[in-house]
Amino acid sequence: MTDLFNPTEEHQVLREMVRSFAEKELEPQAEEYDRTEQFNLKLFRKLGELGLLGVTAPPEYGGSGMDATAAVIVHEELAAVDPGFCLAYLAHSMLFVNNLAVNGNDEQNQRFLPGSCSGKLVGGMCMSEPGAGTDVLGMSTVATSDGDDFILNGQKMWITNGAISDNEMGDIFLVYAKEKDRSQREISLFLVEKGMEGFSLGQKLHGKLGMRASTTAELVLEDVRVPSKNLVGTSGSAVKSMMRNLAIERVTLAAMSLGIARRCVEIMNNYASERKAFGKSINRFGQIQRHISESYAEFMAGRSYVYNVASNLDLSAFGNRVDSDGVKLYCSTMGKNVADRAIQVLGGYGYVSEYVVERLWRDAKLLEIGGGTNEAHQKNMTRDLAGLDKIR
């Protein structure tokens, strides 16, 4: 029985496999890794064995060659159990692996994709800086060409997978940098490897509200010499590849909100039918019914939107911006609201970790910020919509 959410039998089998993996292997560790703010590298490598790390990468480089819908399914299922772990997965498989597979050349793909699809290498993407997030083109990391090489200087902030432990950095990064003495729009993309001289872990950030099972780090580039074979695409033209990858990033981030919302609806629905007050199940009270029914309807609306956009998303094209921004704008807030209602329905029990929804609530908030703030989506969408006089 295929449908919008599982368009083929392969997608169905994939969803079942990831769900069963998440329930058996992610669930038992989620609370601990959240509490201790650690990244579970061992479990991450298991995703490699299952072919999930290269879900959209071509098979000739060790990937699984599946489509955007498959990526959405994986994120929904992982996030329903452990959004923090899922964020680390997203930064690796979407921001690094898919980004390189789409924008890199054959030699670069040969060099880095097999290792990152298997889980030997942990990858990430560095766009944001301490002084530039939404205003990404205002970045100050610069690349200066020097013979056949480039010299990179700057600081990157908020980098998911930037560290794999308190003092060890991730293995391989796609780093955006401005070309020295050229216009602000002339950005280049580089493969920067752990171990390159001058490339270091500034700090692993502590005290995050949520997504604590993923690491967030500051990375420092000090006269890092990067050979031209590590330049992805041509010099100064990376804005296009950035936009192309942001589309799948936002759709999969929206899929994470779906996972969070689905789990929260399940939890509040089950709880409300069992919990008794004033002699009846609390799901007989109108105010509780409103929490449950509105949450379900909003979840299904978001889910339909995300899978509809994913089914039309060509990973190698760009220009899908209204809807890739739109799904994240809608689903991030939807997921946060649904998690909030779940806590409300559970009362005091919702406020403690045993019942999971407090963790999902903390994790849900990030999705209104990371991968573009909601205000950024509103800005982008309105600019693009202004060019349309009719919506088909």
């Binding site: 392969e10 496999m17 699984s64």
Partner: protein, 248 residues
Amino acid sequence: MKILTTVKRVTDPDMKVRIQPDQSGIVTEGVEYKMNSFDEYGVEEAITLKEAHGGEVVVVSIGPGAATKELRTAMAMGADRAILVETDADLDSDAVARVLAEVVGREEPDVIIMGKQAVDSDRSQTPQILGSYLNWPQATFAYKVEIEDGWAVVGREVDGGTATKRIKLPGIISADLRLNEPRYASLPGIMKAKRKPLETLTPDDLGVDIAPKVKVLNYEAPEERGAGEMVDDVDDLINRLKDEARVI
């Protein structure tokens, strides 16, 4: 070695089962279906044996057209090809065994590995009935299987402990929980499974009359379990087991 293994499409065991108002069956609306978990152990064992001894794994399901999903899952785990005997009827164990006996007649496997029971009806009958139709030896509830020189040495879970049984092949083995740890269907496996052959037959094609021998009169939900009670000490427990529960 040719290994035949079976999978049943069952309702998700983690969902609450609800009975239809007229008691004719369970409510299937909105219910998820999965591969029977005991069959996962069977499929895993079949693939492990193939990896050790070479040969082919053929996976068979009897059920609705949608059971191709469970067959694809088995092929994504590593089975080589699949046969669906398509029927929407709810077969009793005897009918399933009669259909399987015909499939076995066509395929002539060296060994059949099945789940010890299906988690929907929990009957645990089909492997045994199939053994009698084929007149093959059987070793049920396996926790360990070794195959050498045309014999299978099977460690079995039995009441109060374990037992070892040696059966001459061809024979039937039914899988219990401790047998192995079923692998996940990996993504490359899922993509490969797309291209593996899946043959669809009907009971008619096999010349099997699937008319039931067992008639189900009605379905009833078990009585709801009351809340537990804390007792003060062991003496209290013993007294209450004696006087109230009357079980000792």
